[in-house]
Symmetry: C2
Subunit: 469 residues, 2 copies
């Protein structure tokens, strides 16, 4: 006599629980502006409140949702609050949330074309749509030798670039002689990726920047030429369009020239700024991208699509597949063997993959070209207004050129005053800002770009600055 299967929710119970969850989210988001951005909990406080065993028998769904309301929501940092200006925005939108829900409902694995053809084909399709939408080079299209793929994060996408570049230049056998170049302002993930790939820390050259924190292409050329003269192999240059600290744009044409002359892979990280390319007027920052071997930007930062959705493009997929394709018998199938399809497992480190293109497709279609441009433009214009307010405040000083919707400023009284101002702003509960250091000074950052952030919210931040600076 077989054991009984577990008791699942019936379809009608699932429906009711689903509607209740949707209602909870809609109400939570509708009321989010009334909540403090930061939760104000102490380490260990949330955990101490949680039931400390797995129950012997199942609990009703309503109890779970009640505990989310009572125990979890008060311990959340509200990334979807319109006053969230920390780090970079982590966008979300109703169509993206529902695309994510459908992905969970389908519950498929997109590792191979054959394990869900629509999962693979929609992904290729949507990434080609991004090429049109953002005016990206045609060499990244999936109907040529290159193509696009969704990764969980720019860290993971850049790791793929590091691996392809490493192996194209000789792989493990040549590894001690390989060198990688990026600016001192590039994201920490580049250093992490290089270390993951087996390089020593000294094999990553940190290139100086100019006064505006953009990579100095002359310094790059000097470093590359010195290494070549020493018999070393420049395998990869990583340029950043929109650095994390201040949003600086590295000069791609000059960098590409150096990389090309040295035979090095050029990877361009526009994780945050790349979304702005939906507007033709901001595409100048990407001039020179047609020389890049790979490119990444994150619709999950500033293009209304829930994390995780990092769009990674490659001009030639062969080196990537050479690095990442390991084919055991149990994954072989006729269609893959024919070479007629893309198997995205070979375009990333993990084997398994979610159906992430649904949410991006929903966002593109729900907002349309006009809606996506309005989203970016509204924030850039709000940043311009805030820039005016900060410029006219005698206690504050812009610390770097304003980049799209990212502002950096410091307090004229020095680091301690800046730290106090940051603490005072965040203590209001109305806003959350984070900091960085530029030219060894404490700097406050305002990253405008939240899905619900409007110019009215930014004006309120300007008032708080006047009040507290």
């Amino acid at each position: 006599m077989p054991a009984e299967p577990p008791s699942h929710l019936t379809p009608e119970e699932f429906r009711a629980a689903g509607h209740a969850t949707i209602d909870w989210i809609v109400d939570y988001l509708a009321g989010i502006e009334g909540q403090p951005v930061s939760p104000g909990v102490q380490p260990g406080q949330v955990r101490a409140s949680l039931p400390d065993t797995v129950p012997e028998t199942g609990e009703p769904f309503a109890d779970l949702l009640a505990d989310v309301e009572r125990l979890i929501a008060p311990g959340i940092t509200q990334w979807q609050h319109p006053g969230f200006y920390g780090y970079f925005p982590g966008n979300s939108s109703p169509p993206a949330v529902l695309g994510e829900l459908l992905s969970a409902g389908f519950g498929v694995q997109g590792m191979l074309w054959s394990t869900s053809p629509a999962c693979t084909e929609l992904e290729s399709h949507v990434l080609d749509l991004l090429i049109d939408l953002c005016g990206l080079p045609d060499r990244f299209r999936s109907d040529g030798p290159g193509g696009g793929v969704i990764q969980d994060s720019a860290s993971s996408a850049s790791l793929c670039a590091v691996l392809a570049a490493r192996d194209r230049a000789g792989g493990a056998a040549a590894l001690p002689d390989l060198r990688v170049y990026t600016s001192s302002q590039s994201h920490s993930s580049i250093e992490k990726d290089v270390l993951v790939a087996g390089f020593g820390a000294d094999q990553l050259r940190s290139i100086d920047t100019d006064d505006d924190y953009a990579m100095d292409p002359v310094a790059l050329r000097v470093a590359v030429e010195a290494d070549v003269a020493a018999g070393l192999i420049p395998c990869l240059v990583v340029a950043t369009v929109g650095t994390t600290s201040s949003g600086a744009f590295d000069p791609l044409p000059e960098i590409a020239e150096v990389a090309t002359a040295a035979g090095a892979w050029l990877h361009v990280d526009a994780a945050w700024a790349g979304s702005a390319a939906v507007c033709p007027e901001y595409r100048g920052m990407l001039a020179g991208l047609e020389h890049a071997d790979s490119y990444v930007f994150n619709p999950h930062k500033w293009l209304l699509t829930n994390f995780d959705c990092s769009a990674f493009f490659i001009a030639d997929r062969k080196p990537l597949l050479n690095s990442l394709s390991v084919l055991p018998e149990y994954l072989r199938n006729t269609v893959s063997d024919s070479g007629d399809v893309i198997d995205y497992r070979d375009w990333q480190v993990p084997l398994g993959r979610r159906f992430r293109s649904l949410k991006l497709w929903f966002v593109l279609r729900s907002y349309g070209v006009e809606g996506l441009r309005a989203h970016i433009r509204h924030h850039v214009e709000a940043a311009e207004r805030l820039t005016g307010r900060i410029s006219s405040n005698p206690r504050l000083r812009l610390a770097a050129p304003v980049s799209l919707a990212l502002l950096c400023f410091s307090h004229v009284d020095g680091d301690a005053a800046g730290e106090e101002l940051l603490a005072a702003l965040n203590a209001t509960g109305e806003v959350l800002l984070t900091h960085t250091r530029l030219s060894d000074r404490h700097v406050l950052r305002v990253a405008i770009g939240g899905s619900r952030t409007t110019s009215d919210h930014v004006d309120r931040l300007a008032d708080l600055l006047d009040e507290l600076a």
Copy 2:
């Protein structure tokens, strides 16, 4: 005059669209058994049907959902169909789907404790609950030097083990001398992870297996001792509990002895079989795990939790943090500096991370200990019945010992007959099986474990086998 922000769905539109999406999923899953498991589409067919531009203005949500029904669903391989026996199961359940939905609704980043305390603390908590639930060693608890973390996949978790082991043994400087050991039956992700980490293919030793496809610990010892004698450094042994092809259990106590004697890291990959440890009667396979440095199993395979949810445990977090912690100024914060909290960004390769513990918490509480055990036991018992049916079929022959709910068998007439049988079974549309090779013979695999698969469905598969073999 600022640009207008984009037009988002109003709360009431979001609610209506959300309810419609829930209804669609509930109806889709309720009717899934009437659909063929495999979609029967040709390469390019789905993509050719998709609208080929991003619209200028937004489209109503109802149109999106209609296109999912019309264009996407017919191109899906139905991993949630009860007749899906391919690869390993990819479980899903109503509470997991709704936990994923809530995670999307919150839209937070769990990279640091401070970027959402509840996201981090619920994760540590739920992984400690898994230790109780599965009888895992206490050394993996997060209140000691070790701890647990959710990764997207076992590939990524095992990569973390490779990196920690590599760097503990000397890192990049020692890399050419380091050696890694795993059986010839271990998952392809181990080879991929080792290559990602900068090792050459020849630095991975493929250890022979016994007649049941489990690692031969004597062969391991011989390989390790030969390398040590040659001045090389064994840095990592990867053992598998439940291999992908046939579900073999590597003998952990003997392997641990060799690894410990050599000072090598021991990583245990129980990606699929690990879920069975919710039942005390199956925990024997994990004897010896108390000597492991790290352990991974995937609740997203066989524990009713949607992908991605890979549970990774480590006995000592320090080597992992040494490998993966890169701290730029813009991520610094008082609480992290105090050392009182876990920042999970340092426990994984990517920086960003979703709130994945919600769905696992929902599953544990919705099913309870009894429900989770019933889920596993029902499938194991169904596998026993199917084993009887296959054993009594003169045209079929078991190709390996039945492991939990995984069966491997071949056709007595040889590989071509086995391939034909596989094609005929899959052509019914009622089931999907995949294949592997064992001892250089074509083998059909039946991985029982789908969230909706009951012993009645397995009996139907047995009937099909009788009919078609």
